[in-house]
Symmetry: C2
Subunit: 199 residues, 2 copies
Amino acid sequence: METSSPASSRRTSIGSQRNPDSEEAILSAAEAILREAGLAAFSIEAVARRAKAGKPTIYRWWPSKAALLLDVYHRQKHHGHMPDTGDVRSDLALFVTSLLAFWRDDGGAIFRSLIAEAQSDPAALEALRRYLLERWRQSGAIIQRAQKRGEVRPEIDSDLTIEILSGFAWSRLLTGRLDCSEDEIRAVIDAVVGGIAAR
Amino acid sequence: METSSPASSRRTSIGSQRNPDSEEAILSAAEAILREAGLAAFSIEAVARRAKAGKPTIYRWWPSKAALLLDVYHRQKHHGHMPDTGDVRSDLALFVTSLLAFWRDDGGAIFRSLIAEAQSDPAALEALRRYLLERWRQSGAIIQRAQKRGEVRPEIDSDLTIEILSGFAWSRLLTGRLDCSEDEIRAVIDAVVGGIAAR
């Protein structure tokens, strides 16, 4: 992803400084395990073995499996969460399309399990929530630019609009229905931009 | 819930007939375990012990923990998924409000774990998907009635509209943010009914 890592701000409260080389080795190892063997094979132990790092080191930097998964997820190349075509419908259609496409590739498996982990682990839930609020705020720029252009009403809450579209994408991810047609995506954007009401 | 159980249609392909008394005993036992000890204590074994039923009986009727959870979830009293006030904004606001309220009570814990289970168990995913498609179709009646009244454009997809609102509710549930203000719910309904575009 193109933007600065929200993980780095989470780290400021942790006293121990990360070593960039070890951090890279650990994240690469985690990514390789996920790619080659999937989530079932993913554990702090397996990552430590592959990265030739100590488990305490990993736990010092990532307090839970979910925190490590979140950083791996964030490192994956996902472009298109802040499109800027000059037209709000195109921007929002690109936002949804690229999110679903990213999830159809590697990203979806990691994000599904992050959400699953967060339902039984309060620390994972808190990390996921912080990450998402920051992401929605960033993508909210799509709406704010459209407000400056006069395309979107000034009182509209930009983060909330992004959460509505993102929630639709979650519904598709979490029910295994990522193969969303262009027509369906257009219908979703039409509903949110133009409304469903008779004119 | 007031409507016929989607579970009953799932059962038609299963040869073994359920005994209504045993079924009731098993579902009550499952519900009691969830209420008293939470999901961590929930297993087919624990339900069998409490219901004084054989594990093979339970597995014959519910092929997975998720299938049993889904039936317990469906049995919980959740009113308000098909409000009919004569006004589409009021109906949709009630739909979202009552879903979030139901989840803040007992329903949310079960539904969160159903979604989590479905991310690692393909049979659970399939059961959840079928259940939801049926639910969204039912609640789609809100939109269809509004279309007959001329409030909503005829080309709008009713199920998709419900999925958008439901996706927003999922986002709130799965990030632990069920305390949604009335203003926020109104803003979501405004976006979907009236659109965010400048008029």
